[in-house]
């Protein structure tokens, strides 16, 4: 897109001399996106990235008014919602974009798993993506506590207790996670530091790796498409694919605006550390299936504590998920792997059912 007119042309040339825009343009022109019946899944990574950028922008705006202390956190959020112009909008968008981001991230992950897009040579892309998923969940967990309301306080208490059941080091890890024996103002500052400094920095670094790997290897073509003689054609990334991406982002933006206007993020009641836990405390929806599983486990499985077994099982499942490219050698050779297909279906059904139960089962049973 080289400008034809006088001063624009001059400006372009000036920048090109210094930045090498022509080379970048050539690189972008070279990048192609395969076109086939699974192309739709290629948009989800970009949409997640867009939502992450929204999170950074609204997160920075929230920092202008938020105060990370147990005395002031709740009040500062209340002030932000009630007194600051468009404060409700910024917080609501941050809230909804976080949820949408995790949602698109899950779909992105399952689609990659389904299409075996992790197979050689894209293992590192998968590892970095898995890392980013972990970071996104950590973002959600730490961010949930920051408004310091009753629901988030007790959910954090329950959530952090889980690390306490780790054999031997449990108690120590619990202290590190909470910044003390219990969830207090110290936990809040700790979570705040993670949420606005440690996690964003790590995420940006890992995201750099992820995007570089995507750029290096290009889009993966699914096995079944390859078997049928490869993709029907390609589409230039710039501008054709990017423009389509933009349409997706704008749709996400419109959805965000609607959610924020019709379902603004609520604040609830200020946390009281000494009050008894209210009935029906629940974590964010993306932790619900794990939370609910732990509830259903019996107190003891053989000689082990039920909760410990559950957490251990989730840890193993998570680990298997991360090292799937290493385990799955058949896909590398282009052979079918029905086992993985069935496992993915089972996992999705399990997550949906347990999440559904988490929201509908009576909290007292």
């Amino acid at each position: 897109m080289v400008a034809e007119r006088g001063w624009l042309k001059e400006l372009y040339e000036w920048l090109d001399d210094r930045l090498g825009l022509a080379a970048m343009g050539a690189l972008a022109k070279k990048k192609d996106v395969p076109v086939h019946r699974h192309t739709i899944w290629y948009y989800l990574g970009g949409m997640t990235l867009f939502l992450f950028v929204v999170q950074i922008a609204t997160g920075i705006l929230l920092l202008f008014y938020y105060r990370p202390s147990s005395d002031e956190a709740y009040e500062s959020v209340q002030f932000l919602m009630a007194e600051v112009e468009f404060g409700w909008l910024v917080r609501s968008i941050h809230h909804w974009a976080a949820n949408l981001m995790i949602f698109t991230l899950f779909i992105h992950m399952f689609s990659v798993l389904w299409l075996r897009a992790y197979r050689a040579p894209r293992e590192v892309t998968w590892f970095s993506g898995a890392g980013l998923l972990g970071l996104a969940l950590a973002f959600g967990f730490t961010g949930y506590l920051l408004p310091w309301n009753e629901l988030s306080y007790f959910a954090t208490r329950v959530g952090t207790e889980i690390v306490g059941v780790v054999p031997l080091a449990g108690e120590f890890l619990l202290r590190v996670a909470r910044g003390g024996e219990d969830v207090t103002g110290a936990t809040l500052t700790r979570f705040y530091a993670f949420h606005i400094a440690v996690l964003p920095a790590t995420s940006v670094a890992l995201l750099g790796v992820h995007l570089f790997m995507v750029q290096k290897h290009g889009m993966s073509v699914p096995l079944d498409v390859e078997r049928q003689g490869g993709a029907g054609g390609t589409m230039p990334f710039f501008p054709n694919f990017l423009l389509r991406d933009l349409v997706g982002w704008l749709t996400a933006l419109a959805v965000l605006a609607a959610l924020a206007a019709f379902f603004p993020a609520e604040l609830g009641v200020k946390a009281d550390q000494f009050a008894p836990a209210p009935v029906g405390i629940k974590p964010e929806w993306y932790f619900m299936f794990m939370f609910q599983t732990l509830k259903y486990l019996p107190a003891h499985i053989l000689v082990l504590e039920g909760e410990l077994v559950g957490i251990f099982a989730f840890a193993v499942a998570g680990l298997l998920l991360v090292i799937v490219p290493v385990l799955d050698k058949r896909s590398d050779r282009g052979e079918g792997t029905p086992l993985i297909t069935w496992l993915v279906i089972a996992a999705i059904i399990y997550i949906i059912i347990l999440t559904y139960l988490g929201y509908t089962a009576s909290p007292t049973t």
Binding site: M81, A82, E83, G87, W88, L89, R91, S92, P239, N240, L243, R244, L246, V247, L250, T251, L253, A254, A257, A258, A261, P264, A265, E266, L267
Partner: protein, 419 residues
């Protein structure tokens, strides 16, 4: 419970320090032989008091056995317990009051220990039902000093372990009054403790942690314990519920109840089992007390229903405005001013409920109308705050239109690029 104890405690500390110093000098010279011997006696009747006495307030003030029982503590052996040296063994029930009163009725003596402590307990006791039965009928089943203040383990009311701590008073009185066997000869009920434990006053004291909430002695007196009597129960309740007592005293019910011999406040609210005054108490419906005397056809019944209706309308208006504001607040609207003003309605409701005791619907209506004005204003503000949502929706409409236009433009652009 009236608290003179905070101030008392300071003085007690001063007194202890002072007497302690005096006693310490004396004790260097003399050993308390009574406790030396008795505390090692196996017989509980002889050794028990000496062993229990270490936790007694009198021991803490530096008093010893001989200060009450007489005798000579400097002498070991039986010669110390010579009646000639003023020794009194165990006082009989008839003598207990005078026994304690030797010191506790002596203002000059008591001043050394606790100048703010009253010295009229024995005089009061003689006016109580307990004291009169003891003196006039020689009834030894009644309570004497030691029945409530266990001898040799007496603690001040401020001590949570004391038998006369506010939380323990009911239990202490109940030791006899809730014992059907003990009370068999007196023809009075024995369920007061059980009923009191269901009352709002007990709930305030235990769950509410309010030690100033009334227990037995706050209405019956302590040393002068007696039933309050029908004609003046309003005075007792009015100690705390003064506005209501004033309203009631000027009402027609005050006179009628007196004529009928009805027990004032207790006619509707009961005595020991005084429950929280719920809205249902007023009127003729279920749980209402007016229906005990009135029916829907008489003037009293109409009055009760009218007052109940008024109060309910204010309650409903308050609830409506409150939940509306809460909704607006949860939507992130600034409604603190409206919520602040809405408190005025709560004020009016509380005053209207108190005004029920005038039994004059016009008085109740005046407060209710005042409250309804406040709720109407708050409701209006809530509606306006939620009206802000319209602004949000307009803004949303505009931005979604822009986004849609952009999407259309992009789609056309893609078509052009790929044509």
């Amino acid at each position: 419970m009236q608290w003179t104890w905070n101030r008392g405690l300071i003085l007690v500390v001063v007194a202890v320090t002072w007497t302690g110093a005096v006693r310490a000098q004396e004790q260097e010279a003399e050993v308390d032989n009574c406790r030396v011997c008795h505390s090692v006696l196996d017989d509980e009747r002889l050794g028990g008091p000496a062993r229990a006495f270490t936790g007694d307030i009198h021991a803490a003030r530096g008093l010893g056995c001989a200060d009450c029982h007489g005798g000579d503590r400097t002498l070991a052996g039986f010669e110390g317990m010579d009646p000639a040296k003023g020794f009194v063994g165990r006082p009989g029930k008839l003598q207990v009051a005078t026994f304690c009163g030797r010191c506790h009725s002596d203002a000059a003596f008591m001043r050394q220990f606790n100048p703010s402590l009253r010295v009229d307990q024995v005089a009061e006791y003689s006016t109580s039902v307990h004291g009169r039965r003891l003196a006039e009928l020689g009834d030894t089943a009644v309570a004497v000093c030691t029945s409530c203040h266990p001898a040799h383990a007496i603690k001040p009311p401020s001590d949570a372990a004391s038998s006369v701590h506010p939380l323990n008073v009911a239990e202490t009185c109940g030791a006899c009054h809730a014992d059907a066997e003990h009370m068999a000869g007196y023809q009075i009920p024995t369920n007061q403790l059980e009923r009191y434990r269901r009352s709002v006053h007990w709930a305030m004291m235990t769950d509410g942690g309010d030690l100033s909430a009334p227990t037995c002695n706050d209405c019956h007196g302590n040393h002068g314990a007696a039933p309050p009597g029908f004609s003046w129960v309003g005075n007792v309740c009015g100690q705390c519920h003064s506005v209501i007592a004033d309203h009631f005293a000027q009402s027609r019910h005050a006179k009628t109840f007196a004529l009928l011999g009805n027990p004032g406040c207790a006619t509707c609210h009961g005595n020991h089992e005084i429950l929280r005054a719920r809205p249902e108490l007023l009127g003729l419906g279920e749980g209402a007390v007016c229906g005990q005397c009135h029916v829907a056809q008489d003037a009293g019944g109409t009055t009760a229903t009218t007052m109940r209706g008024r109060l309910d309308s204010l309650r409903a208006a308050y609830g409506g405005a409150d939940s509306l504001l809460l909704r607006a607040e949860h939507a992130g609207m600034e409604v603190s001013q409206a919520r602040f003003e809405l408190q005025g309605a709560l004020n009016a409701l509380v005053q209207a409920r108190a005004a029920v005791h005038t039994f004059n619907p016009a008085r109740v209506a005046a407060y209710v109308d005042e409250g309804l004005d406040v709720t109407a204003a708050a409701h209006q503000k809530g509606v306006e705050a939620l009206g802000d949502l319209r602004f949000r929706r307009t803004g949303l409409g505009v931005s979604v239109t822009i986004i849609l236009a952009l999407i259309v433009g992009l789609v056309i652009k893609i078509r052009q690029a790929e044509r």
